[in-house]
């Protein structure tokens, strides 16, 4: 029961983007299309799962005072693995994500989960927490990516979904669209919470 709770909390209740406002830089930068969002989300999920599991394994032998530098080295190692594998296997995606692949190192979701969860819990729970949080992050990126892609270019995953007479709002796939979309999506989730509280 508690394992399911650790796994599922990342999707909505403690969603890293919508509820905790973490990892906003990549969320804004790579959400111009669903494909980029999905690629970024899965890359971050892989790093999150591996770093959570490894940090949980070594948590008893890590001296408390130097734990942050150790966490950063662990995370940076997995990011390097992802960076090089993506450059080798999916060069197009790697190119369109640009510097945001190496910047997964400083994504606050990953260090945040290491500090708040993996450093205190056993490997099984840390693994599930990593999977849940990672998929929650991916979900958030895909949601924002699909809004921006549909409104901004009239397509989803590159396939046209709106009629040809639709004039795409170019602004939505440019930087301002990212800020506006995420602002309104966060406002929408606040609105749902407020209504829940009122009832």
């Amino acid at each position: 029961m508690s394992a399911w709770k650790e796994f599922s909390k990342g999707f909505y209740k403690q969603n890293p983007v919508f509820k905790q406002a973490l990892g906003l830089c990549p969320t804004l930068a790579v959400s111009s299309s669903v494909k980029n969002g999905l690629g970024m989300g899965l890359a971050a999920t892989f790093v999150l799962i591996c770093s959570n599991a490894l940090i949980s394994l070594i948590r008893k032998s890590v001296p408390n005072r130097i734990r942050i530098p150790i966490y950063i080295v662990v995370i940076a190692t997995f990011v390097t693995i992802v960076d090089l594998s993506m450059a080798g296997f999916v060069p197009d995606l790697h190119k369109s994500l640009g510097i945001f692949v190496p910047l997964i190192v400083v994504n606050c979701i990953i260090l945040g989960r290491a500090e708040a969860f993996a450093g205190k819990n056993n490997v099984g729970l840390a693994f599930l927490d990593g999977v849940g949080m990672g998929l929650g992050f991916t979900l958030a990126l895909c949601l924002i990516g699909s809004i921006r892609e549909i409104v901004g270019s009239g397509s989803l995953l590159g396939i046209p979904v709106l009629s040809a007479s639709y004039e795409p709002v170019l602004m939505m796939i440019l930087p301002p669209g990212a800020f506006l979309t995420i602002g309104f999506v966060l406002g929408f989730f606040n609105w749902i919470e407020n209504r829940k509280k009122a009832n």
Binding site: A29, L180, N190
Partner: protein
């Protein structure tokens, strides 16, 4: 010619490719520290300072330790057959260098100028995980800037970040008094404001054609 080139890099980093409004780097401190003008100025100064230093130090690390160039320190000291290609260690090396640099700057500033330390103090540790710092280091290497160009780029990227932070803080101080729908209060309205400002900054991309 050299000076003109540096000017183009500086203007580009401040206005056209502003770190917040067009590159999306350093959004977390941007949203977190932009509530008051005082703290925005403090954070901005700290970022300019560390970004300039980090640009210089990471450039040196990349060229003398990691790149397979004849000037590589390992190649010279260990008399290897050929310069070792350690570029795959870049991410790890840069983040460690930046973390160490921030700690070092904190200690030096505390010793030399307690008043500056009081002004920057609480913002310095936060900077290690500011993606703008690692971002500027990676951008410098990716665009193959020279040493001087890297420093100018780092400094002006920091100035652009500070400009965005101060503009935002000024608006948010006024927003305190405005009537905003309950669901949009706090972070959502800050993003919508940033979106409107990003539209204004998009206008600077016209400068790129002129250059």
């Amino acid at each position: 010619m050299e000076f003109q080139n540096l000017m183009i890099i500086a203007l580009g980093a401040i206005f056209i490719n502003n770190f917040i409004f067009s590159r999306f780097l350093g959004i977390c401190p941007y949203i977190g520290v932009s509530k008051q003008l005082d703290s925005a100025i403090g954070m901005g100064m700290a970022v300019v300072f560390v970004m300039t230093l980090a640009s210089a130090v990471t450039w040196l690390v990349d060229h003398y330790l990691l790149s397979p160039l004849p000037i590589n320190v390992f190649y010279r000291l260990l008399t290897l057959q050929q310069p070792p290609d350690l570029v795959f260690l870049r991410t790890i090396a840069f983040i460690l260098v930046i973390a160490a640099l921030v700690q070092f700057v904190e200690m030096v500033v505390q010793k030399i100028s307690p008043s500056l330390y009081n002004a920057l103090g609480i913002y310095l540790p936060l900077i290690t995980t500011n993606c703008a710092i690692l971002g500027v280091a990676i951008l410098n290497v990716d665009t193959q800037y020279s040493f001087i160009e890297s420093i100018v780029h780092g400094f002006s990227a920091g100035v652009g970040f500070t400009l965005a932070l101060i503009l935002m803080a000024g608006i948010r101080e006024r927003l305190e008094l405005a009537e905003i729908p309950k669901s949009l209060q706090g972070i959502p309205i800050a993003f919508i404001m940033a979106g409107l400002m990003a539209m204004a900054f998009l206008g600077f991309s016209g400068l790129k054609i002129g250059m």
